[in-house]
């Protein structure tokens, strides 16, 4: 039998450093997830189905782990995407097409400090530059957990179909892929949380449809939310004083001056520079107020509004700002999807 001679002295130390270094490299190289590409059209007709394909990789796995695949998408709330989306995937680690399931709203995300998957995605991945607060993250997961083994490099192709609303809009979508154990905030192996998820921000999506363009991306003086409402909703009227050069760009106080048009053709004007009509300052030249049109215009039970027109004024009422910085009023028509 051949006798193995163990190194001693300086030689032993060399071997110890080599082995230790190898172990450290193995530990540092953890499972990383990335989205390589998202293929989706730049324009789509309102009411049709948007199909996008996500190509993702789960690479350099350093430990055996069993988790579900989780995919999140940032969408306009008007799409009601949680109820209008189907998602499936194929991967090099599974066989056949796997239909993914919607993660119900409120399901707590791992490593998210107790918040839901949807909120965690909003807090961590963000809003993709959309300026109107009418967006949401929806999340899907694979039907069963899958096992990844040490050394695996897995490719995943996810197909997403979303039936979009009729609304004429410009919106920035966003995608995130992660897994159900590490979520979006894991610092396992002392690695950055972003190691454990992949993101992709495709170019803006234009949905063509009737009516005024709902532009989520370009700063505008005022866009009422929600995009669809009746006079019995609460609507929020913002004023971004710096979006376009206008006489109220440096104003410290901004007031709402609005006219409601009833379905019978009457008009009701509310235009006093009082605290009830003053917009709340949000800082940075942004102001907003929320009104209940039925109460704001003092409608009787028999009256209902068809539309409103509105401008913003200073404290004297003499300086008026409307659409695109002119004195032409902004307009909003009531109606539901």
């Amino acid at each position: 039998m051949k006798k193995i001679k163990l190194p001693t002295g300086r030689s032993a130390w060399n071997w110890i450093w080599k082995i230790t270094g190898t172990v450290i490299v193995l530990v540092i190289v953890a499972c990383s997830i990335s989205i390589n590409n998202v293929s989706q059209p730049s324009t789509i007709a309102g009411g049709s189905t948007l199909t996008s394909t996500i190509t993702a990789g789960i690479n350099q796995v350093n430990a055996t782990q069993t988790s579900a695949l989780v995919v999140g998408i940032l969408v306009p709330t008007q799409w009601n995407a949680a109820n209008n989306t189907t998602m499936s995937y194929t991967s090099s680690a599974t066989s056949g097409t796997q239909v993914m399931n919607l993660i119900p709203t409120g399901t707590v995300a791992p490593t998210g400090g107790g918040v839901s998957w949807q909120t965690d995605m909003l807090n961590t991945i963000g809003t993709a530059g959309n300026l109107i607060n009418e967006y949401e993250w929806i999340a899907f997961e694979s039907p069963t957990p899958y096992t990844v083994n040490n050394g695996d490099n897995i490719t995943v192709t996810i197909t997403v179909n979303i039936k979009v609303s009729q609304t004429n809009m410009l919106f920035n979508m966003a995608y995130v892929v992660c897994e159900s154990s590490d979520g979006l905030n894991s610092t396992a192996y002392s690695l950055s949380p972003s190691t454990y998820y992949g993101t992709f921000f495709p170019p803006s999506l234009r949905v063509t449809g009737p009516g005024t363009l709902l532009d989520f991306i370009d700063p505008q003086l005022s866009v009422i939310t929600p995009g669809f409402a009746t006079d019995n909703d609460i609507i929020t009227l913002p004023f971004n004083s710096t979006a376009v050069q206008n006489p109220l760009t440096n104003a410290s106080q901004v007031f709402l001056c609005a006219t409601g048009y009833t379905t019978t053709g009457d008009s009701i004007k509310v235009c006093q520079q009082t605290s009830a009509n003053q917009l709340q300052s949000l800082g940075g030249g942004n102001f907003q107020t929320s009104i209940w049109p039925r109460g704001f215009f003092g409608l009787s039970a028999a009256q209902s509004l068809d539309s409103i027109e509105y401008v913003f004024t200073d404290a004297t009422g003499a300086t008026i700002v409307g659409f695109n910085g002119t004195t032409t009023p902004f307009s909003y028509t009531f109606g539901c999807q």
Binding site: P226, N232, D233, I234, T236, S290, W292, C336, Q337
Partner: protein
């Protein structure tokens, strides 16, 4: 001797059998939910966006008695007139049913959690477009 052992076994078996008795467990009785009192809105969201700081909800009041309610409807709400209320199940309510005078009943999901030691009523409804969902959190006021 053998007969004595058999007798002992029979006695032991008898003791074991008669030692068993059916135990009747009475589960704790779930109390009826009492919402009588005057309630105001402490938090409101629309489609997940908090409206509490940008809209004045402070004047809204709804007063529940044993079976009726009165309302100051200064904000969008499930109902606009006074009437009667009921739970879908008084012990385990999932829905609160409002019946305005001379009107059909309107049902809304009902939650009754305790937060920071204070009982809340959480109501979810859509007074305008069905796509706009409001969640009001109510607390009792003096």
């Amino acid at each position: 001797m053998r007969r004595l052992i058999k007798t002992n076994y029979a006695l032991l078996l008898g003791c074991m059998l008669f030692a068993c008795k059916i135990e009747h467990l009475n589960p704790p009785n779930e109390p009826m939910k009492n919402i009588a009192g005057t309630w105001g809105i402490i938090n409101a969201t629309r489609n997940g966006t908090n409206l509490t700081s940008s809209f004045d909800f402070s004047h809204f009041r709804i007063v529940f008695t044993d079976s009726t309610y009165t309302i100051d409807s200064l904000v969008p709400f499930i109902v606009t007139h006074n009437g009667k209320w009921a739970f879908d199940n008084p012990q385990y309510p999932f829905d609160l049913i409002f019946t305005q005078t001379d009107s059909a009943s309107l049902e809304t999901p009902f939650q009754f959690p305790v937060a920071n030691g204070v009982r809340n009523i959480i109501l979810t409804f859509s007074p305008g477009c069905p796509s706009n969902s409001y969640v009001y959190t109510l607390q009792q006021v003096n």
